[in-house]
Amino acid sequence: MSSPVKGGPEVVLRLAGISKRFGPLLANDGISLTLRAGEVLALLGENGAGKTTLMNILFGHYVADEGSIEAFGRPLPPGSPRAALKAGIGMVHQHFTLADNLSVLDNIAVGTESLWRLRSDRGATRRRLLDLSQRFGLEVRPDALVGDLSVGERQRVEILKALYRDARILILDEPTAVLTPQESAGLFETLRRLTADGLAVVFISHKMNEVFAASDTVAVLRAGKLVATHATASTDRAKLAELMVGRSVKPPAPTPLSPGEPVLELAGVTVASDHGRPLLDGVDLTVRRHQVVGIAGVSGNGQTALAELVSGLIRPDSGRLSLKGSVVEHGDPADMVRRGVARIPEDRHSAGLVGAMAVWENLIAERYHDATFSRFGVLRRGAARAYAREVIKEFDVRCPGPDTRTQLLSGGNMQKLILGRTLAHGPDLILASQPTRGLDIGAVSYVHSRLLDARAAGAGVLLISEDLDEILALADCVTVAYHGRLTPLLPHDRVSVSQLGLLMAGHWDILRDILPETVDAA
């Protein structure tokens, strides 16, 4: 790997003065970048910094308002993925652009042949695919339906799709967001093979450790502007974090507290699914007061069912769910709220808030039937607005006022709104599903400190997250979800990221090394 010095390998890509506006938002502001053959460039920045927008302009999904792009010395026509593909640029999108109902081969072949050929040459496509797959060590099953593949396999299909088009510049948008640590390591190994072959790679990330694991050069974006470009080897984490956020950020540190009595107990809980494997399979779990229990795992291993169970959206098919020592027989969401469960849902847009409704309406959504907010079936709007003003102030929700339409808030402020709705009443149990997904570093540390405050005040926190750093920073105990089952609780200081990664991939035999003595999970 080479660092970008003058007279180094050939420049393959040159972005000059790229600007892009979305309404009032200046998403990219005069960004210029160069990329050389064999180089891995990390594009680092917070959510909303403009990384994905920049790459979407490069690949032709968007047209830049200003600026020009040159690939291999030739200007790239704007706004055409077809032209980008022809120029040797391939993109692996964060949300994979694959059709689940089609085979791997179909997904790769589509668009590669002239549309008016009377017959697809599937034999040739298959040979070429298998050849590429072997050359770069990217194993795939050509005839499998994409819908049946794991996330890691889908990503390999995406990379092969680009290579099949003879991509010499590969863009990866947040490629590790959905991978286990081991799968990420495999991806970085693949990137090394690609660059050894002379490809240039741009990968978008907001995770510092990946930048150091995989890149030669790092470019930092903040609020649409390119704030710095460094050789990765000549910089460090603290410096990059400061560049990303624009100020120094201290992560909140949990103070040690001894756990109190249990607030949530699951005993042998099973939730069946429509087909095949149960969503939850004999789960035992206890969350105590003054305790954060983190659930790690690749998404789709039962976390959603667990969250829905504790929210009261579904009921166990067998087993028992107790809150504060009393068994919940027929829990529904309203009942769970009454019993002191605060819920921070996984998807704040679809399950957390009603975007078209006002901030005050969302704030009383869980307790509009209380005497405070309604009388004889009529809402007491004055009281509700006054209450909303208090919460807005207390939780620092940046908005013009209680009548603001909720969808106009930023992601971080929406999350503060949800925190305000659920935490204002001193809950006993907090269910936090992916509480910081898509938030910037400032909002993340706010959410974390609020959760830790609630823990100090006596709440138990069930934290479901795909972000292992978040889990290890907040949780007192960790458990890993795999195929609907949970490992025993592991104290956070006895387990490493790589061990969690192995557990997430189903290698539960290593539990013997982490817990030589059997820890009682109940």
Binding site: Y62, G79, P81, R82, T97, N101, A109, T112, R117, S120
Partner: protein, 307 residues
């Protein structure tokens, strides 16, 4: 005679199967057309109106002196044009496919009646043309050329969808248009093309009614056949072969009820028999299509560069 032997007698007669193939023809063509549109991600509720327009335009061309095959071409072109209208509103403009489709049906139907009355203001009994004649083949094979064309088109559409690059492109834009675009395909053009081709097939279904099954154009002659095709597409899980089977099954029910009506000799109200094919279709839908895996992007407009 007991009930079972009546049914057996009917099922063993060649005339019954001749009728089945004839009745099935417009359903085969209409279902294929709807299937093409939906495979590309566009629901086309304009089918009823497009079939009516095809029926009128094909007949009118022949009535004005064109030969039968020219009439077929005129019908298909008119269908493609009305399909273009539906596609223009739903694909680049991204309007609601339901509402637009119903509008297209109302437009196609009214326009057909309007043009028919404009040309033939006085006709008290509908004027007739010389329609396609059945080929001189034995038994149930004695069908008109359009029936043969319909069943041939089943194979053609299946081949195009599953064996050619353009078919793969159509399936891809119906499953995941963003993926298709990332592969350099023009989603808008492919969707418009598929809707136009599908609409042309729907118009052929209509033209079969006026150029083969009957020899005149009546008001209300399509009579809900288009809606049945919409259901048949779901029944067929969006596959051409199954679509043909579904159309045949429906035709069997329909032909059967006609003959049972005669056999019952007025003991039962005839409306009960008329209901039979529809009830059985609903039953078949419930049994077969509950777990149908529909094209993922069906009814979802695709707007490039949206965030």
């Amino acid at each position: 005679m007991d009930f079972l032997s009546i049914i057996l007698d009917i099922l063993l007669s060649a005339a019954f199967w001749t009728a089945v193939l004839r009745i099935a023809t417009p359903y085969v063509l209409g279902t294929l057309g709807e299937l093409l549109c939906e495979r590309a991600g566009v629901l086309n509720l304009g089918i009823e109106g497009i079939m009516t327009l095809g029926a009128m335009a094909g007949w009118m061309a022949v009535y004005q002196g064109a030969d039968l095959w020219t009439g077929v071409l005129v019908a298909a072109s008119c269908g493609a044009l009305l399909g273009l209208l539906h596609a223009a509103l739903t694909v680049p403009l991204g309007l609601s496919q339901h509402v637009t489709g119903i509008g297209v049906t109302l437009l196609g139907t009214s326009l057909s009646y309007f043009v028919y009355r404009l040309v033939l203001p006085q006709a008290s009994t509908p004027p007739t043309i010389e329609p396609f004649q059945p080929l001189a083949l034995p038994g149930a094979l004695a069908q008109t050329p359009l029936t043969y064309l319909a069943f041939l088109l089943v194979a053609v559409v299946a081949y195009v969808l599953y064996r050619t690059p353009v078919g793969l492109a159509v399936r891809m834009v119906g499953e995941n248009p963003a993926a298709a675009e990332a592969q350099g395909l023009n989603v808008t053009a492919i969707r418009i093309g598929a809707v136009m081709a599908g609409s042309a097939l729907m118009a052929l279904a209509g033209a079969f009614l006026t150029l083969s099954a009957f020899n005149a154009f009546f008001f209300n002659m399509v009579n809900g056949r288009g809606w049945i095709c919409i259901a048949l597409v779901v029944f067929a899980s969006w596959r051409p072969g199954k679509a043909m089977l579904g159309a045949l099954l429906f035709a069997v029910f329909d032909a059967l009820q006609l003959r049972l009506q005669q056999a019952s000799g007025g003991v039962l109200p005839y409306q009960l028999f008329l209901m039979m094919p529809y009830l059985l279709s609903i039953l078949a839908l419930v049994l077969v299509a509950r777990r149908a895996s529909y094209p993922r992007a069906l009814m979802i407009p695709y707007r490039k560069g949206e965030r």
